[in-house]
Amino acid sequence: QRCLSLIKSTKFLNAYITVAEETALKQAEESEKRYKRGQPLGVLDGIPIAVKDNFNTAGIETTCASNMLKGYISPYNATVVQKLLDQGAVLLGKTNLDEFAMGSGSTDGVFGPVRNPWSYSRQYKEKSVPKSHSEDKDSNWVITGGSSGGSAAAVSSFTCFAALGSDTGGSTRNPAAHCGVVGLKPTYGLISRHGLIPLVNSMDVPGILTRCVDDAAVVLGSLAGHDPKDSTTIQDNFKPFELSDLTDVSKLSIGIPKEYHAPGLSSEILALWSKAADLFKNAGAKVIEVSLPHTRYSIVCYHVLCTAEVASNMARFDGLEYGHRSDMNKSTESMYAATRREGFNDVVRGRILSGNYFLLKQNYENYFIKAQKVRRLIANDFVKVFGSGVDILLTPTTLSDAIPYMEFIKEDNRTRSAQDDILTQAANMAGLPAINVPTALSERGLPVGLQFIGRSFQEKQLLTVAKWFEKQVKFPMIQLDEHNGNLKQISKP
């Protein structure tokens, strides 16, 4: 209930598209009954969670922040949603995102942009140059990053304890970094994608956003494992694990990929990255510089493969079986065209057009096949580095801290995505697990996170190291003025 009222009072963040108040209260009630009987369904029983609005939730609207699916109520639950519900989790609502998860700001959905809760934190306000007029105070708010901005904001503002995002090019880690929360991208094939409305089938994974690494491990434990409904999940049995407290890092080998010193990386983050490396070194770990030489091709490669798959995945939205249908009914073709023009925003349509271009017979070899080959090279970079004894890679997650919305929208979605995805994208190409751990506040009082990338299916090792790091940096809690009373009660574990 506290979460629900908090959601209401933080409505200006625009983190939620749909709040499932009735069902959530009912679920909470049932959960309480179970606890009274001493029979909780699982670790997550009673825990309020939020789910990004590109996951199917039976009976609750799923829109993908698009006109195409406004009002669409799915008849089934995504596997991950079902798993959470089976554990007794309380589903608070669906969070906001960039339309169809395309974007790095959570600004391009039909329900409007998501505001970073840190815009209203004492830490940010103290550091921001006060504008002369009071109305300008509001226009200074910063973005959450994307595309899972709603989920990140929801977790960050204490309206829920964990949230599901999705990660195709960094969509979970990026907003996690900007909102100061933990964002985990699991290995491709570990968690079922059944019910996650796809962006790029060969790169998408469900992402986990929580306030601390331990929580991420808990949620991962409930979600991972083979799903017969998703043929790309691995068959091996997955055993949920608890994170031990790492005391001795001397056996650890941390790799610092030099190519991640990308153009545009703020000096602040560069310094933080360096400091983190030193942290490990001083604790006895082996810290070495490594090279992932094909990193600079990953953005272009990603754009080809992503748009191609998008063009294919979006082909099903024709208004015939579900979703928006245009009134145009002169012919099937004209209905399709009008429906898709009305239903999709420019970003989506742009990607569809590009993707179709790359898939044309005359272009397929030069673009799609070539991109697949480059993808293989990028993945091999990682294989080589991990094969040479490196356990974990340490990189920045974003190029800078969150920028104000007014500044962000000066460039178009494509430009922004190309800039912002550079540090997170390669992990999706290679299918590797990666996690953002909030590290420190920037000079402007905004969160900055660092990223750890691990070996395939070695989430346990990845999270163990992340947890150790989290403990070392002691990232400060967000101080949201208006609701401090409420917050203190909720934020206690």
Partner: protein, 479 residues
């Protein structure tokens, strides 16, 4: 069930009653490959002497159409499941069943793919109704090389393929129910020259129409070329009422299907005994060798066995296999009668089958059971009745009134006279009454004997065995 989803497959079910979330292309649903479809494809590939690709891939073929909910079809464009096979079939030369020749058509490949739904165009209300029951049903596309030269060959090849599929159980292959669909690609060329431009003929709904459509198209193309025209690489529809092909409205123009690998399905890996990993049992994977060992006898093998076992002619074996249930019926009769198979086959093919055809019945629906027929044939063998009488009994049995052959014989007084003395007496009587004929016979005109036989038959109301009568008459006349 369907190729990638758990929906049922059923002919003529109420519209949109067999559609799963995946078939309706609800966002977020994913394909899961149906093992039985894979096994059916492997069986078919093996029966057609194909190489089975141990690794095959799935692709998306994109085009927009109302009966294709996802906007793409999942198919196997790059690497299909089976390639490079052959199909042997037989043709009668000059319509004489006694002269059969064997031909072969090469099989290019077999691929697994999804079927689309059905659209019904309602021009009156300017609307199209879409039924997705069929969407997602598994299809095996068997692609043949252009090794056939006329409608008859095409029909024979497809008929044989149909029999093979039915024997394997990989498809019921009933064309009328859309379980087997045939598109014919036809081109003409002068001997020695390269193949001409081909047209694709669709909307062929039976094997008979296949032959007609192919022959018509060949004629049409020859006429077109001889009058100085050209053949367009187009799709034509066969109009069964008019017996001709007409161009289909080419709504798409040159279609670029933007093929892309299907990212949600890993490559399909099949194993054989050698490559099977030690810790996997055959329940978890598809083992080509395991399937191979369990293939049933193919039609050509069955036919050869029938010829060898029963001494019937090859063309008989074709007819037996061509009619559902006829072989079983034949073998059932054999089991229950002393009559030799070589004679039984005549009854099966000439009598039973022609009655069935006349009344458009299947073997299953035959009013005469194998038991009854065997009984009848036994009586014929024991010479209780003449063969003419037997045909009469058969006609009577056909009425399906539940009478046994014995009852019918008694009722119609068809029993052959068994008393030799009685018969001798009648023969003598006839001889005595036909002095002129007797003299003619004695002076060498043997043909007149038939008249005497005929008289005896009349006297006995057809109840005398003509062979025996002939013997008796000859004996008496030579005395």
């Amino acid at each position: 069930s369907k190729l990638f989803s758990g929906s049922q497959v059923q002919f003529a079910a109420p519209p949109n009653s067999l559609v799963s979330f995946f078939d309706a292309s609800l966002p977020g649903t994913l394909p899961v490959l149906n093992r039985r479809c894979v096994e059916a494809a492997v069986m078919t590939g093996l029966a057609l002497n194909c190489s089975i690709n141990k690794k095959s891939l799935f692709d998306r073929k994109h085009y927009f159409y109302a009966d294709l909910p996802a906007g793409y079809q999942i198919t196997q464009q790059r690497v299909p499941i089976a390639v490079n096979g052959s199909l042997s079939y037989s043709l009668c030369i000059d319509n004489k069943m006694s002269q059969m020749v064997t031909k072969t058509v090469r099989i290019k490949q077999i691929q697994l793919e999804q079927d689309s739904g059905k659209s019904l165009h309602d021009d009156v209300r300017s609307q199209t109704l879409v039924d997705l029951n069929r969407a997602g049903v598994g299809l095996m596309e068997v692609v043949m090389e252009p090794d056939m030269c006329c409608g008859e060959e095409a029909a024979a090849a497809v008929r044989e393929l149909q029999l093979i599929l039915q024997t394997l159980g990989s498809s019921q292959a009933v064309m009328a129910e859309g379980q087997l669909r045939v598109d014919a690609n036809v081109s003409v060329h002068h001997p020695g020259e390269p193949y001409g431009v081909r047209t694709e003929v669709k909307n062929i709904n039976s094997i008979r129409f296949l032959a007609k459509a192919v022959d018509y198209e060949i004629e049409r193309q020859i006429e077109e070329l001889e009058s100085g025209g050209t053949i367009l690489n187009e799709t034509r529809a066969f109009d069964s009422k008019l017996g001709c092909t007409v161009p289909m409205r080419d709504k798409e123009g040159k279609q670029d299907y933007r093929f892309m690998p299907e990212p949600n399905l890993p490559p399909l890996i099949l194993y054989n005994a050698r490559s099977l990993p030690a810790n996997m049992n055959h329940q978890q994977v598809v083992n080509i060798d395991w399937i191979h060992e369990r293939l049933p006898d193919l039609p050509s093998v069955k036919r050869a066995k029938l010829v060898e076992q029963y001494g019937i002619l090859p063309e008989h074996s074709f007819t037996l296999l061509n009619e559902a249930g006829l072989t079983e019926f034949f073998e059932d009769v054999i089991k229950q009668t002393q009559m030799k198979p070589k004679k039984v086959i005549g009854w099966i093919l000439n009598d039973l089958l022609s009655y069935l055809k006349q009344h458009s019945l299947t073997v299953k629906e035959s009013p005469v059971s194998s038991f009854l027929l065997a009984d009848l044939l036994n009586r014929l063998e024991k010479k209780e009745i003449s063969s003419t009488a037997a045909k009469q009994v058969f006609a009577e049995l056909w009425k399906g009134e539940g009478k046994t052959p014995l009852e019918i014989v008694k009722e119609k007084k068809l029993q052959l006279i068994q008393d030799q003395e009685d018969l001798e007496r009648i023969c003598q009587a006839v001889i005595d009454g036909q002095e002129n004929e007797v003299m003619a016979i004695k002076s060498g005109n043997r043909k007149v004997l038939n008249k005497l036989i005929g008289l005896v038959q009349r006297e006995t109301q057809g109840r005398s065995n003509p062979v025996l009568v002939k013997q008796l008459l000859e004996k008496k006349l030579s005395e």
